[in-house]
């Protein structure tokens, strides 16, 4: 089986989808001739022509607004916003329009649309190229939100997102594009080639939305993570020796509550991790759900390890990033609590 980076896997998902369905169109800033600033759409314009893969003006409102019109027409647009940090001009179109077409028209119009956007930090991107705005999407009824953590899932989830009848926000952790980053920024970069989840089938496969996967089985504490934090969690667990169960959520909405509740019921402890800011973050929702569904199994308060409630700094990136040291400390603390 071929090995792919996350970029190659995403490109392969787009390629397979465009090959199978003429209605799939791909566009965004620098997406056409050049193939995207992260190269995810490289070669697609050459292969499928300018009417299926093209450059867009720098207007996120325009990119998403036109894509909604195309989706209503019957196409399956999969657009790229160059950074998740740039999505705010499109937010009205996403929240008031894409998310609500089906509902407000009672199914007369629908919006099968995928909005891809690189998310998260760890690349010295400063506050405008590092944000993780997933909670701004999970708070919106009518959207699905997906965050893959590896090439195999990225391809399968993106294909599933493109085939989904509703709008899907597809957040790509940019620090994972070229390798499985575990938060140890001072160590040499690891390539995807050495990781088992870089084995990606060439053809079509869909990874169902709304299904989490257990990356490590353990008995003492459940760590809920997604995207880059899955790798940070696995490293922290390894380094502390705590027998933790690490769950990769993959889809934040719809959420696989069953897998989460079964794990916490077993372990009795839970840590939620994300790179996004703490207050009103998706971790708050996870924490509340664990409390509601697993209260009588809990032996300690649910903990959150997240980015600080500040803009994402440039020079102090690694003081901001919730790396394995911070998570390791939380793992030790939760095992001493209760």
């Amino acid at each position: 089986m071929p090995r792919m980076t996350m970029i190659e896997a995403i490109r392969s998902a787009l390629d397979v989808s465009m090959q199978r369905n003429d209605d799939v169109v791909v566009y965004g800033e620098d997406v056409g001739f050049f193939g995207g600033v992260f190269r995810c759409t490289q070669g697609l314009q050459q292969k499928y022509g300018v009417s299926r893969c093209f450059d867009a003006p720098i207007s996120e409102c325009g990119i998403v607004g036109t894509a909604i019109g195309m989706a209503a027409y019957g196409l399956r647009p999969c657009v790229e916003l160059q950074f998740a940090d740039y999505m705010y001009p499109a937010y009205d179109q996403i929240v008031s329009e894409a998310a609500r077409l089906r509902y407000r028209s009672a199914g007369d119009f629908t919006c099968p649309l995928v909005i891809r956007m690189p998310t998260g930090g760890g690349i010295f991107g400063g506050q405008t190229h590092s944000q993780s705005p997933e909670a701004l999407f999970t708070h919106v009824a009518g959207l699905k939100t997906v965050v893959p953590s590896n090439p195999h899932d990225a391809k399968g989830l993106l294909i599933a997102a493109i085939e989904d009848p509703d709008p899907v926000i597809f957040l790509e952790p940019k620090r994972l594009y070229n390798g499985p980053f575990d938060g140890h920024h001072d160590r040499p970069v690891t390539a995807w080639a050495k990781h088992e989840l870089s084995e990606v089938p060439e053809g079509h496969y869909a990874t169902p939305l709304g299904k989490a996967v257990t990356r490590r089985t353990g008995e003492s504490v459940t760590v809920l993570a997604y995207g880059t934090m899955v790798h940070v969690a696995l490293a922290a667990v390894e380094e502390t020796g705590v027998d933790a169960e690490v769950i990769d959520l993959r889809t934040l909405l719809p959420l696989d509550l069953e897998t989460i509740a079964a794990s916490v019921a077993k372990t009795g402890r839970c840590i939620v991790v994300h790179e996004a800011t703490l207050t009103s973050g998706f971790g708050a929702e996870l924490t509340a759900l664990v409390q509601e569904h697993c209260f009588y199994h809990l032996e300690a308060p649910v903990m959150r390890v997240t980015g600080w409630d500040t803009p994402y700094p440039h020079a102090q990136e690694w003081d901001y990033f919730p790396g394995p040291a911070r998570l390791g400390q939380a793992l030790r603390n939760i095992m001493e609590a209760g």
């Binding site: 169109v25 036109t66 909604i68 019109g69 009672a106 009824a141 009848p165």
Partner: protein, 410 residues
């Protein structure tokens, strides 16, 4: 050393406010028939003047004059008059129903009936409008059932929108009428995307975008113009300038640009300005723009110069922000009266036939209203199910919504 000139902050004001005399001296009205009609493949830079003029067909006596006189039969014009009369009567009945507490909200079209009624006739059956809340003529002139419109307004058990939308926020794919949003201007750029999709697929359908003068200030409007211009999208970009955005006069959104039509010029989009109270001129200009779109010549921006004779909605009182009798002074008159006058002058209509038509239309609307009310009104009779709250958020009900639906026991 000279002292610096103090800078002045400028806030535009309308010509007249409540208590003042209506003043439309700033609205320059060219003679009917005086504006040339260029071929549809004209280069945009050759018709820049048309963005600053007003295309008019009907003169003061109701005679059609000049190069824009459209090819519409007497029967078609009588049908057009009936569409406008139906819309006006429908509005009056629904406005009253709102005052009677049968619904929460209503928005009338008074004075603007020609714009949507004439445009619909110029459009093909498979084309798609992306309307605002004041283009119900697009439905009425396309034979959408009045009962269904009323059921939507009443949010009753037969409401096609299942009680989820504010009154007048209709949707009908079958009738080329995109679901209405209350977030202004969002539809303008979606229309461009719909048109792009049609071109990508090599189909022959075109889109029509709709927006009011006030909402052209939204970024979506400008994004729509960029995308329409860049991809030469087969779309007609309609700006209905009815002079007032709730209480804000059109000068606040227009700023220093002479007209809303002129906004198209910087994008290389041909821009026409038309008398929106002249059914014939509106139809002719719509037809011109639609033909351009069909011939792969790209977008056209049209500004319909009209006047909102009524309130913005049932929630505001215009006498609080403009002279009470301003609408009577509007120099482009009333679209229903003008078309009626034309048809009488042409020997195709009479005062008697008009009265008779008024009575027939009123009877038809009262019958429709009775039927609609038999399915309930907002506060009485049958309602959409609480179950409908949870349907259509997604194609399939996800687990968290299933749990929430169980909580209210439906």
């Amino acid at each position: 050393m000279t002292s610096p000139t103090p800078l002045r902050f400028h806030v535009p004001e309308p010509a007249s406010r409540p208590g003042g005399k209506p003043d439309f001296s700033g609205v320059s009205i060219p003679k009917a028939g005086s504006v040339r009609r260029p071929p549809v493949d004209v280069a945009p830079e050759e018709i820049r003047d048309l963005a600053y003029s007003i295309i008019r067909v009907l003169d003061h006596e109701g005679q059609p004059i000049g190069p824009w006189v459209p090819d519409l039969s007497k029967d078609e014009l009588v049908a057009g008059l009936r569409h406008m009369m139906t819309l006006r009567t429908f509005d009056a009945r629904m406005q009253m129903a709102q005052r009677q507490g049968k619904t929460s909200f209503y928005m009338q079209h008074t004075g603007e009936e020609a714009v949507s009624c004439a445009f619909r006739i110029a459009l093909g059956p498979d084309d798609m409008n992306f309307p605002t809340y004041r283009q119900a003529g697009l439905l009425i002139a396309h034979d959408y059932p009045l009962v269904d419109m009323m059921c939507q307004i009443y949010s009753n058990a037969n409401d096609p929108m299942k009680g989820r939308q504010l009154p007048v926020f209709y949707s009908s794919r079958k009738h080329g009428f995109f679901t209405i949003s209350g977030n202004l201007a969002t539809q303008f750029v979606q229309a461009v995307g719909w048109a792009m999709a049609s071109a990508i697929k090599g189909d022959s359908r075109i889109a029509a975008a709709w927006i009011g003068d006030g909402s052209t200030a939204e970024s979506d409007f400008h994004a729509a113009l960029v995308f329409a211009s860049t991809y030469k999208a087969p779309v007609v970009l309609n700006v209905v300038n009815n002079q007032w955005a709730i209480s804000t006069f059109q000068g606040i959104a227009r700023g220093g640009s002479g007209t809303f039509a002129a906004r198209g010029l910087g994008f290389g989009i041909p821009a026409l300005r038309v008398d929106g109270n002249d059914y014939l001129a509106t139809y002719a200009v719509a037809k011109w723009a639609i033909e351009r779109a069909r011939l792969n010549l790209g977008p056209t921006l049209i500004e319909y110069v009209t006047y909102r004779a009524g309130a913005h909605s049932t929630s505001d009182d215009p006498s609080a922000y403009r002279p009470k009798h301003e609408s009577e002074e509007w120099p482009l008159g009333d679209p229903v009266i003008r078309l009626k006058q034309h048809l009488i002058a042409a020997g195709a209509w009479s005062e008697e036939r008009h009265k008779q038509a008024e009575a027939e239309i009123l009877a038809e609307i009262i019958a429709a209203q009775k039927e609609a009310e038999s399915f309930g009104t907002l506060h009485s009779g049958s309602k959409p199910s609480a179950r409908d709250i949870f349907e259509d958020v997604y194609a399939e009900l996800p687990p968290h919504l299933r749990r929430q639906r169980q909580q209210i026991g439906v």
